[in-house]
Subunit: 213 residues, 2 copies
């Protein structure tokens, strides 16, 4: 006999990831997976309930790797004795950007897929990973000596990282590769620089009383 159930699943996921990376969600077809994995269509459905579950599993692998990359980047800085807040945030953002660039096809699919999930109940592994990233950012912010209590620091971390996320994903709707990469990085540098300076000067407390209806 050849492969374990576990090994076959891994093979299927690797193939699925390639397919997603090459052509997005529309390129993930049961028959293509079966053919490339050397199994039958039915066997795919033996391993996974449906294609959605395959997609979900691929996304989780990607997200895990992203989390690992973020943590590794932090560990590197730790080892080098870098404590500057701006440097550390920028390093995390750089890790994020590198990761997205390394998965040009599947990253959009991750985002698109995760939006579909919005109807479902309760937090899941995706939220858990996001919280993990937020916690890392919050930890970095704690090192900088802004006058923030825990709650406000957590809010600042979520705000900052969601902003980075927005810059990266907005940037990637356009096409020209290297010029776009530069633009994204300029925006991130500007954001982080302004954000840190703003926190230093108490901008987090400056409210204008305008709320939406």
């Amino acid at each position: 006999m050849a492969l374990d159930k576990e090994e076959t699943s891994e093979k299927v996921l690797a193939i699925a990831e390639t397919l997603l990376n090459e052509g997005g969600a529309a390129n993930l077809k049961a028959r293509t997976i079966a053919e490339q994995a050397g199994i039958s269509v039915g066997s795919v459905y033996n391993l996974f309930a449906d294609l959605d579950e395959v997609h979900r599993a691929v996304n989780m692998r990607l997200l895990d790797r992203l989390g690992a990359a973020g943590i590794a980047a932090m560990a590197d800085l730790e080892r080098q004795g870098v404590t500057d807040v701006q440097h550390r945030i920028l390093a995390m953002a750089a890790a994020y950007v590198r990761f997205v660039e390394a998965h040009p096809g599947s990253w959009p699919a991750v985002l698109a897929f995760n939006r579909r999930r919005a109807t479902r109940p309760g937090p899941d592994a995706y939220d858990a990973l996001l919280d993990e990233l937020f916690d890392i950012v919050a930890g970095v912010l704690k090192a900088g000596d802004f006058g923030l209590d825990d709650k406000r620091r957590a809010l600042a971390a979520r705000t900052l990282w969601s902003s980075v996320h927005g810059i990266v994903t907005s940037g990637y709707v356009a096409n020209s590769d290297s010029r776009q990469a530069e633009e994204i990085w300029h925006q991130i540098e500007l954001l982080v620089g302004v954000f840190v300076k703003g926190l230093e000067h108490g901008g987090a407390f400056a409210h204008a009383e305008t709320k939406p209806a």
Copy 2:
């Protein structure tokens, strides 16, 4: 007879928008449209090349309305004599948030669809609208007296608005409605406050490479 070609197209788009809003891209089916519009399947393909074009047209309508809402919000402030930069940016963000909340199903579809388009060449109407929004933000920033040249001000506008976008879209992957809306708004207030304070104190020029104090 009854309806003009133009009118029928409008009817189809209205139906398509409802379908997208209710069930996302997967809910946009040729036969459903045909049935609800009282025409045949083939006639849909007479009016539009394929379903992608229908989706694109719906998105354009939405984006146009979003642009109009943004401009209207600005005009309101103008009429009220509000010139404060923070107030004005927050008002634009509020208009954006309101718009997204009003289209819970189709807004994700707009974003997802626009990502698929990434392979295509050259800028299109979507980029044009985005530039329009960026220009409005840049205009608001010009009123504030930060020491920014045109180029850097444009960069700041893109950065700020992409960040708002990121906060809004990140916020909407989670589920609890009213608490989530509050969280989004807190993040936006924090971002805008910090951003403005940061610009006032020259944070736009503080680079990590040039080692701050």
